[in-house]
């Protein structure tokens, strides 16, 4: 009885928090996207004085938008998959093999995260130019995004690999399962949440990354962050930025739900029964 009451209180509290957490920011973004240029929406009004879909049609007709959407939504999933692939072997080593210097390696993996912004924007891209990768702009940006997101994918997958149960692996081997079957039965259940998290995070990192995509891609390749930063920079057109963010949110939410369904980030202990 006590538990049910507690759950209800928590649910209520969460609903209130969610309103502040989500409804307010997203609601405001929706209202911002509907502001008509004839009259600005100053902070003291609850609703925009003049509303219309002008911003939406205007942004949609902007020739760069469709290209940016296509490019970003092609780039981000590929970067996520690439990063995942590159990270798997290293995460396996860090998660399951106790070698000398492992803690140091786990720290060294974070190097891309600690590199300051302008160093990435100027020196890393200059390195990419030096390596001649800019002849294949899309591939260069893809590669750069995958490498820069490696800290996320490696660390996330490491945590997952650490949770794989040795007795499962042993049992599978003892039962004569081949390498692939062992992987599917023993590793995959524990890895699923990690794979899901890794794909999601790298996807988001890639779709938000501005500096490299701009320096290497411009003028041929336009991504969403380029348009977003343009709108929030000097020219400061908040309604346009709101439209862009909302255009981004819907596909992102759908992708996240699909991913979650596909990987069914289920409770790994469901596969393990009740034995510790």
């Amino acid at each position: 009885m006590q538990g049910r009451w507690l759950d209800r209180v928590l649910l209520m509290a969460l609903l209130i928090v969610c309103t502040i957490w989500l409804v307010v920011p997203f609601g405001m973004a929706i209202l911002w996207s509907l502001v008509d240029p004839s009259e600005p929406w100053t902070a003291d009004r609850l609703l925009p004085p003049a509303m219309s879909f002008y911003r939406w049609t205007d942004m949609w007709e902007n020739s760069s938008l469709k290209q940016a959407l296509t490019t970003s939504y092609l780039l981000a999933p590929l970067a996520a998959l690439t990063s995942l692939t590159l990270a798997m072997p290293t995460a396996y080593a860090l998660g399951r093999i106790n070698f000398r210097g492992r803690e140091l390696a786990k720290l060294a993996v974070l190097l891309p995260l600690v590199v300051p912004g302008f160093v990435t924007a100027i020196f890393f891209t200059a390195l990419l130019f030096q390596l001649g990768l800019h002849h294949f702009r899309f591939a260069a940006i893809l590669f750069a995004h995958a490498v820069l997101a490696l800290p996320y994918s490696i660390r996330i997958l490491t945590v997952s690999f650490e949770q794989v149960r040795q007795d499962h692996i042993d049992a599978a081997r003892d039962l004569g399962a081949g390498w692939l079957a062992r992987f599917r039965v023993a590793f995959l259940p524990a890895l699923r949440p990690g794979i899901f998290a890794s794909l999601l995070i790298v996807f988001i990192q890639s779709i938000e990354e501005f500096a490299i995509a701009f320096v290497v891609g411009s003028p041929d390749i336009v991504t969403i962050p380029t348009l977003l930063f343009s709108a929030l920079g000097q020219d400061y057109v908040r309604p346009n930025a709101a439209v862009l963010s909302l255009i981004l949110v819907v596909p992102n939410v759908m992708l996240m739900l699909i991913l979650e369904r596909l990987l069914r980030s289920a409770n790994p202990t469901l596969a393990s029964g009740k034995v510790l």
């Binding site: 649910l11 969610c18 957490w21 307010v24 920011p25 997203f26 405001m28 911002w32 902070a43 003291d44 609850l46 692939t85 590159l86 290293t90 080593a93 093999i97 070698f99 390696a105 720290l107 993996v109 974070l110 190097l111 891309p112 995260l113 600690v114 590199v115 300051p116 912004g117 302008f118 160093v119 020196f123 890393f124 390195l127 490498v147 490696l150 800290p151 490696i154 660390r155 996330i156 490491t158 945590v159 997952s160 650490e162 949770q163 998290a197 999601l200 995070i201 962050p225 977003l228 929030l232 930025a241 963010s245 949110v249 939410v253 996240m256 979650e260 980030s265 409770n267 202990t269 034995v275």
Partner: protein
């Protein structure tokens, strides 16, 4: 455990760590060289010297930026993780609506940080919705200037809003791997909820906790846009200082601040990892 040939571990590390060290290592080397004058993006090199380091370390603004950035980094990391833990535990066992709640909590991941900052500033604007609400229910007599508040509350709120879902994502996986038996046994032995958390949950989820806290710490340490849009105007963050030097053409000083950022990030990450490891191993006395 079967013995492995010596080359297996390096081979496994090559595509991940190897690429990182090769590419990013070169870039880091260039940045360090720039800070010592051994390299200059604008062409003219004066040769290695400690002058830029000495000069920058002499500046008051540098040390204040170091302190401020460290504070923001640590508080953001601990705050995000502290908020995420209870939620991860609550969502551990599937119940109706858990997936929906999980999705709602993860939604801020999908909103670009820059956009979030501008929305926040709009909500707390002088005549904005929050001020109007507080006046309407009678708590405040007149509007209060909340933008760029000196306590950096705005930055912490934005960091927590953006990073808590990430911590939740990592901790959910960790927490779900804890078997019910262990928690049941602990409860049967008389451990209250808090003790169950400290002695059972925390030690078993240390790895996920470390990964989340460290990554959030590094990101918050190097924060630029939240600070510039919503942060206190009487403080500069390290990234802000770095961009300040760079825009003036003081590339060497900018590199010094950049290298400092890198050192602080790695050192801070190591300290945070060790601290959380200790926390996970603490023996509860009495």
């Amino acid at each position: 455990m079967t013995s492995r040939p010596w080359f297996v571990v390096p081979l496994l590390l090559a595509p991940g760590l190897g690429l990182i060290l090769l590419l990013i290592g070169s870039v880091v080397y260039i940045a360090i060289a720039q800070s010592f004058g051994g390299f200059n993006i604008t062409g003219t090199t004066e040769g290695y010297s400690l002058a830029f380091w000495q000069d920058t370390l002499d500046r008051r603004v540098y040390w204040r930026a170091v302190r401020y950035s460290l504070q923001v980094g640590v508080v953001s990391a601990l705050l995000s993780v502290a908020l995420a833990y209870p939620l991860a535990l609550w969502l551990r066992k599937p119940f109706p609506g858990a997936a929906f709640i999980g999705a709602i909590l993860k939604a801020p991941l999908l909103v670009h940080g820059l956009v979030a900052a501008f929305l926040y500033v709009n909500v707390i604007a002088y005549h904005g919705i929050f001020n109007q609400f507080m006046q309407a229910i009678g708590i405040w007599a007149e509007p209060r200037r909340l933008q760029n508040d000196p306590g950096a509350i705005g930055v912490y709120i934005l960091q927590a809003w953006k990073n808590m879902p990430f911590a939740l994502l990592l901790l959910t996986g960790s927490v779900q791997s804890i078997s019910d038996d262990v928690l049941d046994a602990a409860r049967d032995l008389g451990a209250r909820a808090w003790a169950r958390f400290w002695r059972v949950v925390l030690p078993l989820t240390t790895s996920g906790l470390q990964a989340a806290a460290v990554i959030i710490f590094i990101g918050a340490l190097a924060d630029f846009s939240f600070q510039v849009i919503a942060g206190p105007t009487n403080r500069m963050s390290m990234s802000q200082l770095m961009v300040f030097f760079k825009d003036r053409g003081d590339w060497h000083e900018a590199a010094v601040v950049g290298v400092t950022l890198m050192i602080l990030a790695i050192a801070g990450a190591a300290v945070l990892t060790a601290f959380l490891q200790l926390l996970g191993r603490r023996r509860w006395r009495g």
